[in-house]
Assembly symmetry: C2
Homo-oligomer: 417 residues x 2
C-alpha cells in the first residue's frame, strides 16, 4: 500500500467523459489498496471564461478580487470530481486550498506557500476517502484567499506530497512523459524513463512546458519523487528524482530550444567603472530578465557587450539602455531577433570534456554560425539564427545518441529498474 | 450616516449591465455617506448550470459535495460585484460566507446559522470599503462549507443586519414591493407602504414568493427593519416591521392564494382511540406537510376527516393512508385537486368580528361553495374550486377596500410617515 499524490491539469478534467476517466483511475488505485490524494486544476476553459467576465466589469481588477474569482474554478473541479468518484461506488471528499491547510504569504495572484497543515486530509484518508484538493490556491494568516500563480497546481501537488510524505507525486498531463526533445520537431525523440531534478529544471526553464520550474525546485528541495505521465494512456511516464540513471555512453539527456529570444548589443562602451553593474542594474529594476551576457575584449579603451532578453522585453530593454546613455557613454545600441537558443542538458556533461566540442561541430557542419554561448554545470546553450532550428536540433539529437532507434537497448535491464 | 444592508437576488446581477447598475446603486449610498454591506446571490442561471453539470456525473450527488459546488456561484458574484464597484472609483472587498463569519450547524444543503462573527466586515467597513458578502453559505465548526437552503440569501442578509445592528435591511428584487394581492391577477392591486412581520409571514407562507418565511421570522425575532424594493427603479418599496400602521378603516392587509392544494378525505373512520395521531403521525414521518384539517361530526360511531396537502404530495399521502388501513379502519379514501386556498391577512382582523362574515358573503355572492375553512389570529383561509379564483380574489380585494383607487387617501399624511 502506497500513499500517492495524483495531479490532473485542466485539460485532463475538461469534459464529463474526461472527468469520469480520471475518477476511474483514482478508483483503480483505491481498489489496489493505495491511499490517494488528488490535486485538480480548473476544468478546461473555466479560468479563461472567468477572466473574460471580470474584464467586462473592470479592465484592471484588484488582485485580491481576482483571487476570490479564480479560485472558484478549482473548487468546481474538486466537487465534481468527488461526485464522479462517488458515482462509481467509492468515497471521496473535496477540499479547497484553505481547507486542505495551505497557508501562504499575504500576496495576491502569486503567493508562495509558507506552511501546510494536512490534518483534515489525513482524517479523510483514514476514513477511506479519496481526498480531492483544489490546486493553485491557499489562504493567508488573516483568512484571505490567495492563488499561487502560474504552475500553481503543480506546486500544490508537490508541496502536498512533501507535507504528507507521499511515496510518489504523479503529474498527469496530455503527453506521456518528458522527451529527449520536442517530438513535434524531431520524430525520433524518445521518452525518457528517468531524469534528475536539475536536468528537469534546465529543460523546464528552457521551455519544456510540462512541469513548472517552481514545482521541480520544490520537489528537489523536499526530495519528492515525481512521475510525469499521460492521463489518457497507461504508459509508465518519466520519473524525476535526485539521481537519475544514465544509459551507458549517454551524457546528454535532452535537447531544448527556445524561440523567444532577442539579442541586444551595446557597442563602443567607454571604460567607465562599474559599467556592467549600471546597465544590468537598470534592466533588473525595470523587471527585465537578462539571460546570456557576453563581453568582447576591450579595444582602444572601448568594449562591446551583448545580452539576450525574451522577445517581448526587447523594446523595453532598448529603452532602458538609451535612458542611461549619459551615465554609460556608448557609440551605438543594436538589436537582433529571429534567434533561437538551443541547449543540450545532461548531468553527465561535467565529467565529459568532449561534449561541448561535439555541439559546436554539429552546428558548424550545418553551416550555421554560433552567435553566443552560455554554459552551466549540466547545460550548454548556443544562440543561433532561427531558421535552421529543426535541422540543428535533429543533428544534435543524433550526435548525442538520443534517437529513438537506440532505445531498443534501453528496453533491456534498464527498463526494470 | 446609516449602516445599510442591501441584498440582491440572482436576477438583479444576472448580466454585466445589471451588475453595473447594482454597483452604481451601492456607490450612490457610499457617496451619500452611508456604510454599506451587500449580500448577493449567484448570478442568473449559475446555480442551475452547476446542478446540471453535477447531474451528468452523479444522479444523486452527496450533499457535502453539492455544497462545495454551489457555493462557488455566490463567490463568483461577490468577486465580480466588487470589481464593478472598483471600476467606478469606490473601494470594495468581497467575502465568502465563512470569511464573513457565518457559522452554521453541521448539516449540508439546509444548515441553520448558529453564530455570526462580523469582525472582518467591520474592519473592511472602517477602511472605507463597500463590503460584499456571498449569500446562502456558511461554515461549520469543523471548517466544512455549508449552504442555508432555499431563501438562504434573504436569511443571510437579515441575519447579518441583526449581527451588525444595521439601521435597515433592504431586499432588492424584481418587483417594487409587497402588494395587496398578486398584481398579475388583480390589476388594481396596490403596493403596501408598510406591513407587519406577522402579516408578511402569513403572506409569504401562502405563496407570495418575494421574501422567504425563514428570513421574515429571523427579522421578527431580531427586530430587523426590512424594506422590499425593486432593483430596477428608485421606488420606495414596502417596509416590513413590528407595528405596521394600518390605514383608517382597513382591517385586511392583503389577499393571498395558493393553487398548489389537494384535499384528501377519509370517510367512515371507526372510532379507534388516537386515530388522528395515527394518521397524521404516519404522514409526518413520511415528510408530508398537512395544512388544513377538518373533522366532521361522528355518525353511528363513524367519522369523516379531510385534510389538505400540496398537490405534489397527493399520491404519496393517499399511499400513506392506505398503508395504515389495518390500524385505522375506514370505509373509503378520496381525493380532490383543482382547488385553491384563498386567504385574507391582516393584523386588524382580531378586533373586527365582522371580517369573516364579509369573506364568506363575497364568495357566496359569486355562487362559489366553500369546501374548508381555516383561521389564525390574523388570517382566514377558504378552500374553494380553482376555476373562479381570479373573480374571488378581485371580489375580496374590493370588499375589503384594498383597490388601488382608494390609494389616493393614502397619498396624504400616511405617505410621509
Amino acid at each position: 500500500m502506497s500513499l500517492i499524490v495524483m495531479k490532473f491539469g485542466g485539460s485532463s478534467v475538461g469534459s464529463t467523459e474526461r472527468m469520469q476517466r480520471v475518477a476511474r483511475r483514482i478508483a483503480d488505485y483505491k481498489e489496489a489498496g493505495h491511499k490517494v490524494v488528488v490535486v485538480v486544476s480548473a476544468m478546461g476553459d473555466t479560468t479563461d471564461d472567468l477572466i473574460d467576465k471580470s474584464k467586462e466589469l473592470n479592465a484592471n481588477p484588484p488582485a485580491r478580487e481576482m483571487d476570490m474569482l479564480l479560485t472558484t474554478g478549482e473548487q468546481i473541479s474538486v466537487a465534481l470530481l468527488s461526485m464522479a468518484i462517488h458515482s462509481i461506488g467509492h468515497q471521496a471528499m473535496s477540499f479547497t486550498g484553505w481547507q486542505a491547510g495551505f497557508r501562504t504569504e499575504a500576496v495576491h495572484s502569486k503567493a508562495r506557500i509558507t506552511d501546510i497543515q494536512p490534518d483534515r486530509l489525513f482524517k479523510a484518508l483514514d476514513e477511506g476517502n479519496a481526498v480531492i484538493v483544489a490546486g493553485f490556491q491557499g489562504m493567508t494568516e488573516d483568512g484571505e484567499i490567495t492563488t499561487l500563480g502560474r504552475g500553481g497546481s503543480d506546486t500544490t501537488a508537490v508541496a502536498l506530497a512533501a507535507a504528507i510524505k507521499a511515496d510518489v507525486c504523479e503529474i498527469y498531463t496530455d503527453v506521456d512523459g518528458i522527451y529527449s526533445t520536442d517530438p513535434r520537431v524531431v520524430k525520433c525523440a524518445r521518452k525518457l524513463n528517468e531524469i534528475s531534478y536539475d536536468e528537469m529544471l534546465e529543460l523546464a526553464n528552457l521551455g519544456a512546458a510540462v512541469l513548472h520550474p517552481r514545482a521541480v525546485e520544490y520537489a528537489k528541495h523536499n526530495n519528492v519523487r515525481l512521475v510525469v505521465r499521460s492521463s489518457f494512456t497507461q504508459n509508465e511516464g518519466t520519473s524525476v528524482k535526485e539521481e537519475a540513471v544514465m544509459e551507458q555512453g549517454v551524457v546528454v539527456r535532452g535537447i531544448a530550444f527556445d524561440k523567444n529570444v532577442a539579442r541586444i548589443s551595446i557597442l563602443g562602451v567607454g571604460d567607465v567603472p562599474g559599467v556592467l553593474a549600471k546597465v544590468f542594474g537598470a534592466l533588473a529594476s525595470s523587471g527585465i530578465d537578462v539571460d546570456i551576457i557576453v563581453q568582447s575584449g576591450v579595444q582602444d579603451g572601448k568594449a562591446d557587450f551583448a545580452f539576450t532578453v525574451s522577445l517581448d522585453d526587447k523594446d523595453r530593454a532598448i529603452g532602458v539602455v538609451e535612458s542611461i546613455s549619459s551615465e554609460v557613454p556608448y557609440r551605438e545600441v543594436t538589436s537582433e531577433d529571429n534567434l533561437v537558443k538551443v541547449s543540450i542538458v545532461g548531468a553527465g556533461m561535467v565529467s565529459n570534456p568532449g561534449v561541448a566540442a561535439k555541439m559546436f561541430e554539429a552546428i558548424y557542419n550545418l553551416g550555421v554560425s554560433i552567435k553566443m554561448v552560455s554554459t552551466s554545470e549540466i547545460r550548454l546553450s548556443c544562440i543561433i539564427a532561427a531558421e535552421p532550428v529543426q535541422d540543428v536540433v535533429r543533428a544534435l539529437h543524433t550526435a548525442y545518441g538520443l534517437d529513438a532507434a537506440e532505445q531498443a537497448f534501453v528496453g533491456g535491464p534498464q527498463d526494470r529498474r
